[in-house]
C-alpha cells in the first residue's frame, strides 16, 4: 500500500489503480471562488477500500464527481491530475470518458435513489444501463452482459441476479421507483453501479437511507462484489460505524483539503489531526448518554478563507504559527499522513492519556 498523497510532481503513469495529484476543483460564483476541493492528493491500490469522511460541505461529493469528470459549470477542475489504471483521465476524449464511466469507474451518487426514472420500471432501467454500454462498445464487459443479444429469459435472469445481489426480491423488477421505499431504491442504484464490474466503485453515502440490518447486507454485498472483481472502493460517508467495519484506510477532509490519511485502526484509536480527533470524540454511543455537543464554531467562510491552517480558528491547540503558515500533508509516521503544525504536542498528550489509562487500570 503506497499512499503517496504528495507525489512530488513525478511524471508519467503511476502503478496504483487510482492516483489523484494536487487536484483542485473550483466553483465560480457571484460572491467569489469556492475552493470546494483544494490541492488533494491520494492513491488507491487495486482492491483497496478507502473511506472519505469529513465535515458536511468539505468537498467529498465534489471530489467524487471530479474523478468521474462530472463537475458541472460554474464548477471546473482548476488543476491537478487523475490517473486511473495508467490512463490520464483528464486527457480522455468525451467518448473515451463515457466508456470509462461504469466499466472503469462507477458511482453510486449521493441521493442517487432520486435519479431513477419515475416512469420506467426497474427492470428496464437495469437493462438500459447495460445496453448503453454495449452500444458504446465497452471493452470491460467481461461478464458477457449484452442486453441486445439476450433472450427475454436471459434478461430476466440478469435482472433477478442483480436484484438478489442487493437483497431485493425478483418482483421489484416489475415496479416503478415510487412503489419502493427509499432504502429499496438505493439498493437498485447499487445494483446498477456494480453491473459492469468496474475497477473503482465510488459510493457516496450509499447506505444513509437504510436500516442497519440492510446496511450491513449492502456493505457485505459491496465487499463481495468488490473482492470478486478486485475493484477498489471509495466510500464517502458520515457513518463512522460503517467506516470502521468496511474500509482499510480513511481520508479526513476539512474545508476542501485532506487533513489526515491513515489506516482505519489508527484513525479510530489514535487520530492525529485535531479535527479528526474532535470528530471521533463526537461519536455518540449506545452504552451511555452524553451531552450532545459538536465541535464549536463554524467551518470557514468560503470567500474569506483563513490564512495558515484552515482549522486554526476552531482548534484547541492552535498557535500563532498555525494562523499564518499552512502545513502540507506529510508522512509523519509510516503510512500516516497528517497536515498539522502541532503534532509534537498531540503526541505528548496521547502519551499522557495512555499513561493515565494504564495507571487507572491498576
Amino acid at each position: 500500500m503506497t499512499p503517496q498523497p504528495r507525489p512530488n510532481g513525478e511524471a508519467g503513469a503511476p502503478s496504483a489503480t487510482l492516483q489523484v495529484r494536487n487536484l483542485r476543483v473550483y466553483f465560480d460564483t457571484p460572491g467569489g471562488v469556492v475552493r470546494a476541493v483544494d490541492d488533494v492528493s491520494f492513491s488507491l491500490e487495486a482492491g483497496e477500500r478507502f473511506g472519505l469522511v469529513g465535515e458536511s460541505g468539505s468537498g467529498k461529493t465534489t471530489l467524487a464527481m471530479a474523478l468521474l469528470r462530472m463537475i458541472k459549470p460554474p464548477g471546473h477542475i482548476e488543476s491537478g491530475q487523475i490517473w486511473l489504471d495508467g490512463q490520464d483521465v483528464l486527457a480522455l476524449s468525451g467518448e473515451e470518458m463515457r466508456k470509462m464511466r461504469l466499466a472503469g469507474i462507477a458511482l453510486v451518487a449521493q441521493g442517487s435513489m432520486n435519479s431513477l426514472n419515475p416512469v420506467t420500471r426497474i427492470r428496464r432501467q437495469l437493462l438500459d444501463g447495460m445496453k448503453d454500454h454495449a452500444a458504446a462498445g465497452s471493452g470491460g464487459a467481461d461478464n458477457g452482459a449484452n442486453a441486445a443479444k439476450m433472450s427475454r429469459r436471459e434478461q430476466d435472469d440478469y435482472v433477478h441476479d442483480l436484484l438478489a445481489r442487493v437483497g431485493l426480491e425478483p418482483q421489484v423488477a416489475g415496479m416503478y421507483p415510487h412503489e419502493l421505499s427509499g432504502g429499496m431504491k438505493q439498493r437498485v442504484c447499487i445494483a446498477m453501479a456494480i453491473s459492469l464490474r468496474p475497477q473503482v466503485i465510488i459510493a457516496d453515502e450509499p447506505t444513509s437511507a437504510l436500516d442497519v440490518v440492510v446496511q450491513m447486507q449492502v456493505m457485505e454485498t459491496l465487499r463481495r462484489v468488490q473482492e470478486e472483481v478486485g475493484a477498489a472502493v471509495i466510500l464517502v460517508g458520515h457513518d463512522m460505524g460503517i467506516m470502521a467495519q468496511f474500509v482499510d484506510r480513511v481520508g479526513v477532509m476539512y474545508a476542501g483539503k485532506l487533513v489526515e490519511v491513515s489506516p482505519v485502526r489508527e484513525i479510530f484509536s489514535r487520530p492525529l489531526h485535531p479535527y479528526a480527533r474532535l470528530l471521533i470524540e463526537c461519536l455518540p454511543s449506545l452504552e451511555e448518554k452524553d451531552d450532545l455537543e459538536g465541535i464549536p464554531g463554524l467551518p470557514p467562510s468560503q470567500f474569506e478563507r483563513p490564512t495558515g491552517c484552515l482549522f486554526h480558528p476552531r482548534c484547541p491547540h492552535a498557535t500563532a504559527d498555525c494562523a499564518t503558515q499552512e502545513q502540507m500533508l506529510d508522512e509523519v509516521q509510516p503510512d500516516r499522513w497528517v497536515a498539522c503544525h502541532r503534532l509534537e504536542l498531540i503526541h505528548n498528550l496521547q502519551q499522557e492519556t495512555s499513561v493515565q489509562e494504564s495507571e487507572a487500570g491498576h
Binding site: 458536511s56 460541505g57 444513509s208 440490518v213 479510530f268 461519536l283 455537543e293
Partner: protein, 345 residues
C-alpha cells in the same frame, strides 16, 4: 384536554385492488397519541420499507389513510376548516427524509425560509426577517453569507438537509416530524443539531417524532421508541429498556446489527441471511420467516402488544404470559421527560 395529534387505527394500502399482486400494506392498524404536554421526543426506527415515511406523511395530512383517522386537537384532519388547517400547518412541521426532492430547483434558499415567515406573520420588519433567518441558519451550523442567494444544487447534501431543519425550527411549532433529518451530516454537526433540537424541545415545548436508522442518536435524544417491522409495531416503550434489553427478536437483530465505530468489534454478519420480504396482508407475525424463535402459533395469528414491563410493549408470543394491551393504548406506557423507566439491574 385533547391530544395534539392522535392517530387511530390507521392502515395504508398502496396499489391495485384487493387481490392485486402489487398491493402493499405499508402500515397496518397503527395507533399513537401525541399529547400536548409534556413535550417528548419519540424515536421511530425499523426496517427500510416498514412504513415510517408513510406514517409521517399521514401525520402531516399529506396522505389519506385507507382506514382509520388522524385527529388534530380532536378533529379529523379531513374535516378541518381553513383556519384550523392554517394553525395545523404552523403547529406541525416536517423535515423530510429526502432533501433532494422537496426543493423547487429554481427558487433560491432565501425563498424556502422567507415564505413561512411571511405566511405565518412571524416577523414585523425586514430586519426581523433577516435576523430570524440568520439565527435559524446558525443554529444548524450554516453561514448565512455562504447560504443565502444560492440555489439548492449549489449546496452539499448535508447543507440542504440542514436548511430543512432550520426551516422547521424557525416556525417554533408544537411538533416536528423529522424523517431522517441528519442522515447526511457528519457526527459533529449531528450532535450540534440534535442538541439544538433537544434544547428547543425543553425550552419551547416542541415535541419531536424522530424517524431514523441511527439508533445511537435516537438513544441519545429520545425518551421513547417505536420499533416498526413491516407496517406494524414490533416493540415500543422507554428507550432505555428497548435499547438495553430488547425483547422482540427483530429489535434484538436490529440492535445487534448497529455497526460499532471500532474496527476490532466486527459486526455480526450471520444474523442477516434472510432478505426483506415486502409487506403483504397475511395472518401471523410478519417476522415469522426470519425469526430464530418462531413457533407454529406465530404463523397462525398476529401477536398483540404484550406489556412485558410497565414501560414497554412487545408484539411477540414469547411474551404471551404478560398481559396484552389494545393497540390504541400504546402511548400509555411511554415515559415522560427524565423519568427513570429502568427496572434494570
Amino acid at each position: 384536554m385533547s391530544a395534539l395529534l392522535e392517530v387511530k387505527h390507521i392502515t395504508k394500502v398502496f396499489g391495485g385492488g384487493l387481490f392485486s399482486r402489487n398491493r402493499t400494506v405499508a402500515l397496518q392498524d397503527f395507533s399513537l397519541t401525541i399529547a400536548s404536554e409534556p413535550p417528548t421526543i419519540t424515536a421511530v426506527v425499523g426496517e427500510s420499507g416498514s412504513g415510517k415515511t408513510t406514517l409521517a406523511r399521514m401525520l402531516l395530512g399529506l396522505e389519506t389513510p385507507t382506514e382509520g383517522q388522524v385527529l388534530y386537537q380532536g378533529k379529523d384532519l379531513q374535516g378541518l376548516s381553513t383556519a384550523e388547517w392554517h394553525s395545523f400547518r404552523r403547529d406541525v412541521q416536517v423535515v423530510f427524509q429526502d432533501p433532494f426532492e422537496v426543493y423547487n430547483p429554481f427558487y433560491k434558499i432565501d425563498h424556502v425560509l422567507k415564505t413561512p415567515i411571511a405566511k405565518f406573520g412571524l416577523a414585523k420588519s425586514q430586519q426581523e426577517v433577516r435576523a430570524l433567518i440568520e439565527e435559524a441558519l446558525q443554529s444548524v451550523g450554516l453561514r448565512p453569507e455562504n447560504t443565502l442567494g444560492r440555489r439548492p444544487h449549489q449546496l452539499s447534501g448535508g447543507q440542504r438537509q440542514r436548511i430543512m431543519v432550520a426551516r422547521a425550527l424557525l416556525m417554533r411549532p408544537r411538533l416536528i416530524v423529522a424523517d431522517e433529518p441528519v442522515s447526511m451530516i457528519d457526527a459533529s454537526l449531528r450532535a450540534t443539531i440534535l442538541g439544538n433540537l433537544r434544547q428547543l424541545n425543553e425550552e419551547f415545548g416542541i415535541s419531536v417524532i424522530y424517524i431514523t436508522h441511527d439508533l445511537t442518536t435516537a438513544y441519545q435524544i429520545s425518551e421513547n421508541i417505536i420499533v416498526m417491522y413491516s407496517g406494524s409495531v414490533a416493540e415500543a416503550g422507554a428507550i432505555d429498556l428497548v435499547v438495553k434489553q430488547p425483547q422482540h427478536p427483530y429489535t434484538q437483530l436490529l440492535i445487534g446489527s448497529v455497526p460499532q465505530p471500532d474496527p476490532d468489534r466486527r459486526w455480526n454478519t450471520e444474523a442477516t441471511a434472510a432478505s426483506t420480504a415486502a409487506a403483504g396482508a397475511s395472518d401471523g407475525c410478519k417476522f415469522f420467516a426470519r425469526c430464530p424463535h418462531a413457533m407454529s402459533k406465530c404463523a397462525e395469528s398476529t401477536p398483540p402488544l404484550f406489556q412485558t414491563d410497565p414501560h414497554r410493549l412487545a408484539a411477540c408470543y414469547l411474551h404471551e404470559e404478560s398481559p396484552s394491551l389494545p393497540a390504541e393504548e400504546m402511548a400509555s406506557v411511554f415515559v415522560g421527560r427524565g423519568a427513570d423507566a429502568s427496572p434494570l439491574a
